[in-house]
Symmetry: none
Subunit: 242 residues, 2 copies
Amino acid sequence: MAKADIAETRRAKIERKEQAILNAAREIFVAHGFDGARMSEIARRAGIGEGTIYSYYESKAELMLAVLQQFWDGLTLEAEAVMASTSAEGFFDRLQALAEYHLGTVIANADFINLTFALRRNNSEVTVSREHLRQYVAVFDRLFLRGQDRGEIRQGAILWQARDVFYGTLEYSARSIEMTMGADRNEREQKPVVDQMVALFRAHYGAKQAAVRTDDMVLDRLTVKLDQLCEKVDKLDQRLSR
Amino acid sequence: MAKADIAETRRAKIERKEQAILNAAREIFVAHGFDGARMSEIARRAGIGEGTIYSYYESKAELMLAVLQQFWDGLTLEAEAVMASTSAEGFFDRLQALAEYHLGTVIANADFINLTFALRRNNSEVTVSREHLRQYVAVFDRLFLRGQDRGEIRQGAILWQARDVFYGTLEYSARSIEMTMGADRNEREQKPVVDQMVALFRAHYGAKQAAVRTDDMVLDRLTVKLDQLCEKVDKLDQRLSR
DNA sequence: TGGCTAATTGAATAGCATTCGGTATTTTCG
DNA sequence: CGAAAATACCGAATGCTATTCAATTAGCCA
């Protein structure tokens, strides 16, 4: 028992220290970027010696990699939470929620997202594992397949194509927003991007419900007009019947 | 006259040397990536001393920047050439040609494209100028506006949104293709991406006066009729009240 | 030609990731 | 418990590179 306890404690201790390094690294990387970050500063903030980092991570690049993977795992959890907490059941409402979340996240963390894909080039062997990225986009995948099961998405629609459109457009839009506005985080710009994304999915991937909906709208508007007309005629009728 | 000639010669010489540095830098950066590239090797390949580079470019990052800008300018010219050489006049055929070109380019030069956006983060002051990127996407913009003028694109379509969808989706797809296939450059994978892009534009931006439009027109006409009817009833009402 | 300026050079500098010999801490076991 | 063994930790020393700069060379003009 003592043995197990001690082993547990030791592992816990090591993991605590590892997490301390990771947290310090994330803060410094966020503040200064990859090249701007000093290993010495990370060590200082983690409360350990400079050399100690290297008994946890092979190199600066691999430390960044660990930070990035934790970052993406966090995103996955958050995205899943967003899906879970969305009260709306319909596919398009949920898609909108996911798009809003993703766009906001990508804008707020543009540097990390860029580094995720740039790291591979700078350091040939270090890449965020495909599995971590797949986990993240799986949130979309599940939503899409469910929408297909519920008949809200046409059967012929191909998942990976829709995924490319969804994440690709949002990431590119995020870059555009960021480039044109700089650090000025104005949320007004994000809404039209999300709206158009949803509209596009309705038009191109939606089952042919769009027409029905429009019919409903037509019906509603006409009904209002007709009611007005009926009132007028009724008035006239009353007048005549006197 | 001699003065001008000499001045010309001197400038030409300097520009030749500048181009030599740029070419050497591009080769080395392509071969080893940004961090892997050695300034000494670039100098050697350009046939000049190490220090000389710094009288042409402030720093390694700024040298890379110049390489990237030349790279994007080259892309712009190529894209324009593709548009000019496409025999088809219709918007969607041209869109397909542009999509094929862009996707192929992005896959072939993924490293440079990533670096374009990653540089900013690594080195806070160095960024590929917006103007260079804008020049490139302007090829799409012109195509789109022309399509709108010709009535192939619906009037309500918003340029920047369509642009985000186009370039965003293609870049994301390129990354997906590259990640799943690695170095194996298989062109088979590219076709469905391009095809779906064109189909999507047809469905969402095309002036296909589909159900929605017709419905709107029907609604408008009926509304007018009803308004006319209302007026008639009003007139009748007035006549009776006399 | 000789003097002036600008361009060029590569050895010296400086900054930083990474290593490594030595020290502290924990674990094992008689 | 106590000491040996194993492990974790440290930070000064190392090595590698971008960058600088004092010295040298080339270009130009009178």
